[in-house]
């Protein structure tokens, strides 16, 4: 299975811990790059030397929120090809539609239970590891 370089944009510390624990408990080799907010993520992406394979994006963040970040991303000629999956608590239909309109590769709701979370992330990462992605 392919090893993915994953940019996780998440401001909640525990959410980051959940992701890391999930990956380690599932014994996956994916590399997680952490960004606490959109601004930080943009800084990482602008370097262009270490672009992620996929981006996991939380919508509810301070400074630049998820949707704003998504818009910036899709306007960039290089970055727009990186599949971006929304990982959020918002079941707001409006958010969902807007995201798909701008262009996302997935919209995953964070479940309440940790077990459910692990199961969802496992499937998600498995899916993307079998996908062909743009060669950098």
């Amino acid at each position: 299975m392919k090893t993915l370089k994953i940019l996780l944009i998440e401001d909640d510390m525990i959410e980051v811990m959940k992701m890391n624990r999930t990956i380690s408990s599932l014994k996956l080799n994916h590399k997680i790059i952490e960004a606490n907010n959109g601004e930080e993520a943009l800084n990482i992406l602008r370097k262009k030397d270490e672009l992620p394979d996929v981006i996991l994006l939380d919508l509810n963040m301070p400074k630049i929120n998820g949707i704003e970040f998504l818009k910036i991303l899709k306007e960039d000629d290089v970055l727009k090809y990186i599949p971006t999956i929304i990982l959020t608590t918002s079941s707001n239909q409006k958010d969902l539609l807007e995201c798909y309109e701008i262009g996302v590769a997935g919209y995953v709701l964070k479940p309440l239970k940790y077990e459910d979370y692990v199961s969802k992330i496992e499937k998600l990462l498995a899916y993307w590891s079998i996908n062909e992605l743009k060669k950098i």
């Binding site: 525990i14 918002s90 707001n92 958010d95 479940p111």
Partner: protein, 658 residues
């Protein structure tokens, strides 16, 4: 014969001789006397004859030269003599014609003529006899005759007469009389009271109406000659202002100038109009004419007309509507006070100008141009117009315009009624902006609910994750009781999450952007029953085929889901029965969801629809479910209520608009 007898005879003879001698003597004397008398008479006669001849020829001259017709007839009527005038009058050809005058008399007059003739013979003369005749030339004429008898030695022998043709005169006279009588009847019955006084203020003529007006209990005829010097004093009490009445009459009489239309108000309410006309003949004052007219009706009519006019004028000037009248050129002819107030311009500034040039704001000028044209075609209508008043403020007017017609039906301009709706309009605009604001704030609230629910759910997820790690990492160290408590914490967290989800859902109802569509409830509920977790001991059945409803699909689904779940939740019997039914109510459908659960006490029936009023604090009850149901029903213009008996079961009824 005896001697004696002879002797007697002798003596008698003697006496007779002597007597005859005497008689002869007397006769001789008488004869002589007669002769001389005769001679004398002869002489007188001669003189007389001369005299007569003289007179006769004198008369003959007069007779022939007289202008009037002169006729002499014998006592039977035969013409003996006539002059040329008579020939012409009676239609003869010459003076010598032999004719009986009686034959000229009109047959109807025969008797009168007989009588007149008799009178002529008896009295010797008649005068002023008028008679209709038919002349020889068949003309009908009225003639006037003066006639007398001619006597010869005391004996009537003939009649002479002067005949005048009065046909024309008679006709004129008759005409005059006729017109006079007509005139006097006219005056007598005139609707106006007339009083003609001579220069000495004696009544010459008056009429009934005058007597009536002045309440004089006498006939007009009887008043002739009455002195009016004191009349004003006598009549003044009839008038409202007696002294004025008298003063005015004196004043008029002093000036002797025509006065027309003096108004007099009488005590009985009558209003008289009086004219005074002096009569001047050849620069000489000959009297005067008073004429009184009853103008009560006209005056009161005019007064009520004026009052009416005044009333409408007041209404027009004080009404809250701006009134403007324009001519066909659209130039302002008249404005009322309200219009002046509404525009801020004075009447002077407005009259004569074209309203459409001054008032509407630029953007609306084209509207008004259009309307002016339409109005000329006779169209009546209302429209909104923005105008700028003198102070430069924009006002909203509701304008109602209608063409104005003259008596012949020609359009002579138009009349506009204008109502300032600025305030209403600003309220409307305010309402619009308020609605927009409300919509915005509703959206914001909806967003806010999402954000809040996200923010509240995040810590729950974290707690859950941390709990599961704690359990996982300390599997061996935790005893059964602790593990039990961990489960309790997890359950509590779950319930909290459900609560947040329900609150979000509740707040989302109504902020749905999707339109209502036709939903087949039969399909919807059948599908729902397949998805829902229904315990084995519970049987849910649809009793009737459910209808198609115009509504929101997810909401309706939620509605049935909540009610069915609710019913399942409170089933306390070994065998649960849930029945779904429907009934057609014209505009609505009435649905029912009936269970045989624990039932709800009546005192809680209202309470259960209120948010956070769960009756049973159970693991899976947040107390929001029925509030959501109620909100969804209301969203579909329906109502919800229930019937329930504790321990036996509950039926929820709700209606949805078709």
């Amino acid at each position: 014969m005896n001697p004696n007898e002879i002797d007697i005879l002798k003596r008698a003879l003697e006496r007779e001789k002597a007597a005859r001698k005497q008689a002869e003597k007397i006769l001789e004397a008488k004869s002589a006397e007669l002769y001389s008398a005769n001679q004398k008479l002869l002489k007188y006669n001669k003189n007389l004859e001369i005299l007569l001849t003289n007179t006769d020829s004198q008369l003959q001259g007069v007779f022939e030269n007289i202008v009037d017709a002169y006729v002499i007839i014998d006592l039977l009527g035969n013409i003996m003599k006539m002059n040329d005038a008579a020939v012409a009058l009676l239609g003869f050809k010459s003076t010598k014609e032999d004719f009986n005058l009686i034959n000229l008399v009109h047959p109807s007059e025969a008797e009168r003529v007989q009588v007149a003739f008799k009178k002529l013979l008896e009295k010797g003369a008649i005068t002023d006899f008028q008679v209709n005749i038919i002349t020889k030339t068949k003309e009908s004429k009225i003639v006037h005759i003066n006639a007398s008898i001619i006597y010869d030695q005391g004996k009537p022998v003939a009649a002479q007469g002067i005949v005048r043709d009065i046909t024309q005169k008679k006709a004129n006279e008759e005409q005059l009389i006729e017109s006079e009588s007509r005139l006097s009847t006219l005056i007598l019955n005139l609707e106006s009271g007339v009083l003609l006084e001579d220069e000495n203020r004696k009544i010459v003529l008056t009429n009934k109406k005058f007597c009536e007006f002045m309440q004089i209990p006498s006939t007009p005829e009887a008043l002739k000659g009455f002195d009016c010097s004191d009349a004003a004093e006598q009549s003044k009490f009839l008038f409202k202002n007696p002294e004025n009445f008298v003063d005015r009459i004196n004043q008029i009489l002093l000036r002797k100038k025509a006065v027309l239309g003096d108004e007099l108000i009488m005590k009985n309410g009558m209003i008289l109009e009086r004219d005074f006309i002096p009569i001047i003949h050849k620069y000489q004052y000959k009297g005067h004419l008073w004429k009184y007219r009853d103008v009560t009706l006209r005056r009161t009519y005019r007064k009520s007309l004026e009052a009416e006019k005044h009333k409408y004028y007041n209404i027009i000037s004080n009404m809250n509507l701006g009134l403007v009248e324009v001519d066909t050129d659209d130039k302002i002819l008249m404005v009322n006070q309200s219009f002046i107030n509404m525009t801020g311009y004075s009447e002077k500034e407005l009259v004569g100008i074209k309203g459409k040039d001054l008032l509407p704001i630029k953007e609306d000028q084209s509207i008004m141009d259009e309307k002016v044209i339409e109005r000329k075609t006779g169209k009546t209508e209302s429209y909104e117009l923005r105008i700028k008043n003198k102070q430069g403020k924009v006002k909203y007017w509701l304008v109602s315009g209608a063409p104005n017609y003259d008596l012949n039906g020609n359009i002579i301009g138009s009349i506009g009624v204008n109502f300032d709706i600025t305030e209403i309009k600003s309220l409307e605009l305010q309402k619009e902006s308020l609605l927009k604001k409300l919509e915005k704030s509703n959206n914001e609230l909806h967003e806010y609910a999402h954000v809040v629910s996200h923010d509240l759910k995040s810590p729950l997820r974290s707690i859950n994750a941390l709990l599961s790690w704690l359990k996982e990492d300390n599997k061996e160290k935790l005893d059964a009781a602790s593990l039990q408590n961990f489960d309790h914490i997890e359950a509590t967290v779950e319930k909290m999450e459900q609560l947040i989800t329900d609150v979000l859902e509740y707040s989302s109802i109504g902020s749905e952007e999707t339109e209502k569509v036709d939903i087949n409830l039969n399909v919807l509920v059948t599908d729902l029953l397949n998805i829902l977790f229904i315990p084995k001991h519970v049987n849910v059945s649809i009793e009737n085929k459910l209808p198609i409803i115009n509504g929101h699909k997810t909401k309706l689904q939620q509605l049935f889901q909540n009610l069915i779940s609710n019913a399942i939740k409170f089933i306390d019997k070994d065998k649960g029965v849930i029945k779904i039914n429907v009934e057609d109510l014209n505009t609505h459908y009435k649905f029912s969801v009936k269970d045989n659960g624990m039932g709800i006490e009546e005192k809680f029936h209202d309470k259960i629809f209120k948010i956070f009023h769960a009756l049973n604090k159970s693991k899976d009850s947040t107390g929001i479910g029925l509030s959501i149901v109620k909100k969804i029903v209301e969203l579909h213009d329906g109502e919800i209520w229930l019937e329930s008996e504790p321990k036996i079961g509950t039926t929820f009824y709700f209606t949805l608009k078709k």
